[in-house]
Amino acid sequence: MSSAKADTPNQKFRSKRRNQIIGKIVIYAILLVITICMILPFLWMLSASIKSNREVFVMDPFVWIPKQPKWDNYIKIWTKIPLLKFVQNTVILTIVVTFLQLLTSSFAAYSFAKLEFKHKNALFLAYIATIAMPWQVYMVPQFIMMRSMGLNDKLLAMICLQAFSAFGVFLMKQFYEGIPNDLCEAARIDGMSEYRIYAKIMLPLSKPALSTLTIFTFVNTWNDYLGPLIYLRTETKKTIQLGLKMFIGQYSAEYGLIMAGSVVSLIPVIIVFLCLQKYFVEGVASTGLKG
């Protein structure tokens, strides 16, 4: 009897529900696998950072937290290499670059998005064209030029290099274009100057885009390797990436220490990311980065 009534709405609803549940299970299973793949190396890093060299590669039995955690790995790293100096350099560099990047590119982007002026298209084209140009294509001439300006081996060189990217202008412009023009027009009629419109109206509205740009810039600057490798040669000027690489070279077998250093190098970026991440997807969506 029941088979004859297989098509009743109730049955259909039930099978749909069942499908949904199966779907959910599949989704969670996939997510679980991906999450494990994503996070396992970090857990391994944390675990290895409190192990002794011998314990790191012991697989049978594998333990996450050793019986006697070597917390002093985290103290030792500060004395083995001038880690503090490296962190200091990187922090200064990253903050200055991020600040300059946010300021100058939002400034320029406002002009491109909301003002009319001569050669607007030509200037914007110059920016766009360089986005597709890998930095490595012109790193050598750029280096030669910087050196002739006496900027070789100075943090200032890295700042000049990273603070004026085309990407930032592009990203901010896309965002500003999404803000209705009426807002600016109304302000102009009220007699506000362009500078005040930028400062009082546009800037407060651009929090999501600024957060996005902050994360991108911060992550890029903090993690840059080739740039500092070429420009910062003296030990006292090196950044944490160079320092960490150097440390890995010198203390190759001190796995615990290497991992402790790695953990330390991750903390600042992760803090910045966690602080800004709630704006992040929104920021990307509203900047039209999606295309």
Partner: protein, 349 residues
């Protein structure tokens, strides 16, 4: 002063009248438009002079706009545009950075086909791009679709997927080289103990034919979170009504993806693929840190274009050749980007 002003007014008026005459006479609509613009500008100048303003409103407007652009543009022009032009010039030169520079024409480019290391770097870079771009795209799209569903702890999963992207390369490659250590690492240990792979056949992840595979794997792992966010943003731009309409038509999940999600994401995919391609062609630090061993030198199985550019510039001081290889890199990126633009245009039409 007044005389001067009168003379200027006179001059501008004549110019405006002359332009007006030309406009009437012009038949080509495009040229006509241009002339009208020109006349407007003269007219505006005229009003400015008549009203005793020193600069016209138009000039003032331009100056304000430039003042916004200047801080960024000056830095950008000096530190990016000038070196790019310089790079183009240098590719046709022979220079070691100290002695006299000399023009050698296409000599630098002619050397490439005979250069084993260049060819290896070229091949490896292409293979790396071919492996990384589609894989990263697929994985990040899939992840974005999953994380766009209404599920528990969505924020947590998104954060986790983005973790590898923010992690510093030196740190994370150190972990990878431990996890994939050929004889002690957990990955090979699992292969050995669970899958009974004999000890001498355990894969050597960082050398030989496998090294490129490891590089691709690592890149996908590290960058999928980044592109996932971009896809997520794209997905959020698709209106829910489309899906509702699809449901009413009885579309299943795959059909919804095929006929709604995928076409709607076209511009996002375009952006993702272009950015991915550009970024993949730039690969350098991943290769050096994963496959460089103790001395950071790459053998022919792992060498990439940027490594060879660096090597020629800073080790051999052959700056011309190094720039010429950089040009090849640029042309590669350009070609791929143009093909993608073409394809995108075709789809749009």
């Amino acid at each position: 002063m007044d005389e001067k002003k009168a003379a200027l007014v006179q001059e501008l008026e004549t110019e405006a009248a002359e332009l007006m005459r030309q406009i009437r006479a012009e038949t080509d609509i495009q040229k006509k438009k241009k002339l009208i613009v020109k006349r407007d500008s003269v007219q505006r100048k005229l009003t400015a002079v008549r009203n005793n303003r020193r600069i016209s409103r138009e000039t003032k407007r331009d100056l304000v706009a430039y003042s916004f652009i200047a801080p960024n543009f000056i830095g950008f022009a000096v530190f990016t545009l000038v070196p790019i032009v310089f790079a183009f010039v240098l590719a046709f030169m022979n220079w070691d950075g100290s002695n006299a520079i000399s023009f050698v024409g296409l000599e630098n480019f002619k050397r490439m086909p005979q250069d084993t290391f260049f060819l290896a770097a070229f091949k490896n870079t292409i293979l790396y791009v071919l492996g990384t771009v589609p894989l990263t795209m697929i994985v990040s799209l899939a992840l974005a679709i999953v994380l766009n569903q209404k599920i528990r702890a969505r924020g947590f999963f998104r954060t986790v997927a983005f973790f590898p992207y923010v992690a510093s390369l030196a740190a994370i490659t150190a972990v990878w080289s431990m996890i994939f250590h050929p004889s002690k690492g957990p990955v090979n240990y699992i292969l050995y103990s669970l899958f009974k792979v004999p000890q001498d056949q355990l894969p050597k992840w960082f050398s030989g034919g496998l090294v490129l595979f490891t590089l691709v794997l690592f890149s996908v792992w590290k960058y999928m979170g980044y592109y996932m966010v971009i896809y997520l943003a794209g997905l959020q731009g698709i209106s829910a009504e489309l899906y509702e309409a699809g449901s009413l038509d009885g579309a299943n999940t795959w059909q919804k993806f095929r006929y709604i999600t995928w076409p709607q994401l076209r511009s996002t995919t375009f952006f993702v693929v272009v950015m991915l391609t550009i970024n993949c062609f730039k690969v350098y630090d991943i290769a050096v840190m994963l496959a460089g061993g103790g001395d950071g030198k790459l053998s022919t199985s792992a060498t990439v274009l940027v490594y060879y550019i660096y090597q020629n510039a800073f080790n051999y001081w052959d700056l011309g050749y190094s720039s010429a290889i950089a040009m090849v890199l640029f042309i590669l990126v350009l070609i791929v980007t143009l093909i993608q633009f073409r394809y995108e245009k075709k789809l749009e039409a």
